[in-house]
Amino acid sequence: MTDLFSGLTQEIISGIALGSIYALIALGFTMIFKATEVVNFAQGELMMVGAYVNFFFVTTFLSAAGTPTAWTFLVALGGSMIFSVLFGYILDFIINRPLKDQPIFSIIMATLSLAIIIRAVVAIIAGPISLMPFSPFGDSTVTFGNIVVSLLDLSIIGSAIGLVIIFYYIFHYTRWGIAMQATSEDPIAAQLMGIPIKRVYALVWIFSAIVATISGILLAPRIALLDTTMGFLGLKAFPAAVLGGFGSIPGAIVGGVILGVIETVSMGTLSFHFQWIKEINDIIPWIVLIAVLMIKPNGLFGVEKVKKV
């Protein structure tokens, strides 16, 4: 019995780590959706690009310095951040500005085609071979009683919490954050109040690219494999966001964590005890999505929108 319990706890902690990554991806496109009403299907690809860029920074520094130190990873992180700022700005320019007032159909298709383009460009530049990303913590683990948790998972959970706190602070206590809130509430009124909404949109895309890059950097060592299919993992963040209520930031985080826990537990203990769970492991997020949409389309934290004629 204690064996089952400790195994379950271990799976739940590992699930929270995976869920934190889903939550970060979901946070990225929820921000964009709230501010600009654009649904970014390319968020997973932004994550993948971030992971690749970080990988190339790390390998360059490693070949220059020789042995990996903490500084290697920190400098690579800084480099990837600068890259993601530029990337977010470019995306705002090519996606957001021309597509602002298009129907939803065109926006979905534009971001999907952007995802295809990014995946192809990355595959052309980086080559078809999948890479082995470096983990800054190696394989080290922490033991509490008879529960073993990898340091990487703990760092993922820690940085996810840190990022959420930073973004909470930015949204609620800085000038630009309040400008963002005003813009997502009512763009025209915000513009009349003197808020430069084009710059606010650019800032939102930059933030979202930063979050995506960080989630990519955290996810790559966890799945210990880096190739272009990593972008598809970003799609799993959509059920997470819908579960929490699309367009709600706390919802995105809670939904992501719940989905991550469900996924790891069903892959581990549940599959062990019930054979048929094994068959539906990788579609559980989508079953959850359809169930949520049929039962409670606004999710856990969503607000019902009344459609006007």
């Binding site: 065109s106 534009a110 952007l114 192809a120 052309i124 579609i283 389309p297 459609k307």
Partner: protein
């Protein structure tokens, strides 16, 4: 007849149909590798049938579907299992399998009553994943992810085997599908679909039963996709879950959008454009590309797809058919056209 097709020159249609059936003979006379061209055209034909249905759903009714490869898979696997394992004749399977795919569309239509736009896109995308996974799960019938060998179609005692014969089988149904699609689009149902797309509230106020017509759109679209699936399974003689990827669903939507959403001819044009570009134009460029980049052909292909799609959405949202209409109006008014209107 007159009122419904007033704006069209109907005498072109028989000419086009005759051309479609003469095309294999022309190709045979022109080129030694006509078998490859026929293979490509067959694939295009199957996709045209599916895309006519997808256009009725996404273009006319405005319900985005990102899981149409799922319906294709349902049609293909149902027919393969019915014909090969239950001994149902092919002609009967041609009727039953599309109906089953249509029922799946009906089931997916239920959530569509409450949700729209991006949520529906996500639901249908989830449907695509679930179908793929379920096919693997029912491995007694479907042989799991290993794939399934399918017999050739048998109609009226003849076995249809080569690409040459498949061409005539597929394009007979393509013509039927396009005509049926046109009739649906121009009928009361089609007008109700367009009203729902333009404004659900206004359509409801005008007395259109929203849930009935949305379900109907999914049902019809499922039937078309199931039909395409049956033809796909029996003419390609081998199916596996890899054929029904999520990317295929996205390519279907790309074909419809590039052709021009909410026009049946647009769906046909877009499918032909993308499939021919993919299979005839990209291989020509392959050597050039390999000279510059050391990469797989699939990456270049998806890069070209993505770019075409992106540029079409931003610069030509009406698609190929819209371009054609604009050109037609331009030449009709030729010397006296106001310039600014046709940029």
């Amino acid at each position: 007849m007159k009122g419904r097709y007033e704006d069209e020159n109907l005498y072109w249609i028989p000419v086009l149909i005759i051309f479609v059936f003469l095309l294999p003979f022309i190709l045979k006379g022109l080129s030694f590798s006509y078998k490859y061209y026929l293979f490509v055209l067959n694939m295009a034909g199957i996709y045209i049938i599916l895309n006519v249905g997808l256009d009725l759903l996404s273009g006319f009714t405005g319900l985005v579907s990102l899981g149409h490869a799922g319906f294709l898979a349902v049609g293909a696997y149902t027919s393969a299992i019915l014909v090969d394992q239950f001994g149902v004749p092919f002609a009967l399977s041609l009727i039953i399998s599309p109906l089953i795919a249509g029922l799946f569309g009906f089931v997916i239509g239920f959530p569509a009553l409450r949700i729209t736009g991006m949520y529906l896109g996500l639901t249908t995308m989830g449907f695509g994943f679930i179908v793929k996974r379920m096919i693997i799960a029912f491995r007694e019938w479907t042989h799991g992810s290993g794939g399934l060998d399918v017999s050739s179609p048998m109609l009226f005692g003849y076995t249809i085997k080569s690409d040459w014969n498949n061409y005539f089988l597929i394009y007979t149904f393509v013509i039927i599908a396009v005509i049926v699609g046109r009739r649906i689009a121009k009928s009361k149902i089609g007008r109700a679909f367009m009203a729902i797309r333009d404004s659900e509230q206004a359509a409801e106020a005008a007395g259109i039963n929203l849930s009935k017509y949305k379900m109907l759109a999914f049902f019809i679209s499922g039937i078309f996709a199931g039909f395409a699936g049956v033809l796909f399974a029996h003419t390609s003689s081998f199916i596996s879950t890899d054929h029904f990827d999520i990317l295929l669903s996205i390519y279907f939507i790309i074909m419809v959008l590039v052709g021009g959403a909410s026009s049946i001819y647009g769906a046909v044009l877009g499918t032909l454009f993308i499939v021919l570009l993919d299979n005839l134009f990209v291989p020509l460029l392959k050597d050039q590309i390999h000279f510059w980049f050391n990469t797989q052909a699939g990456d270049i292909q998806s890069l070209i797809f993505g770019l075409i799609m992106f540029l079409f959405i931003i610069f030509q949202p009406m698609g190929l058919y819209g371009m054609w209409l604009k050109m037609r109006i331009y030449w009709k008014l030729f010397p006296f056209n106001p310039r600014q209107r046709f940029t």
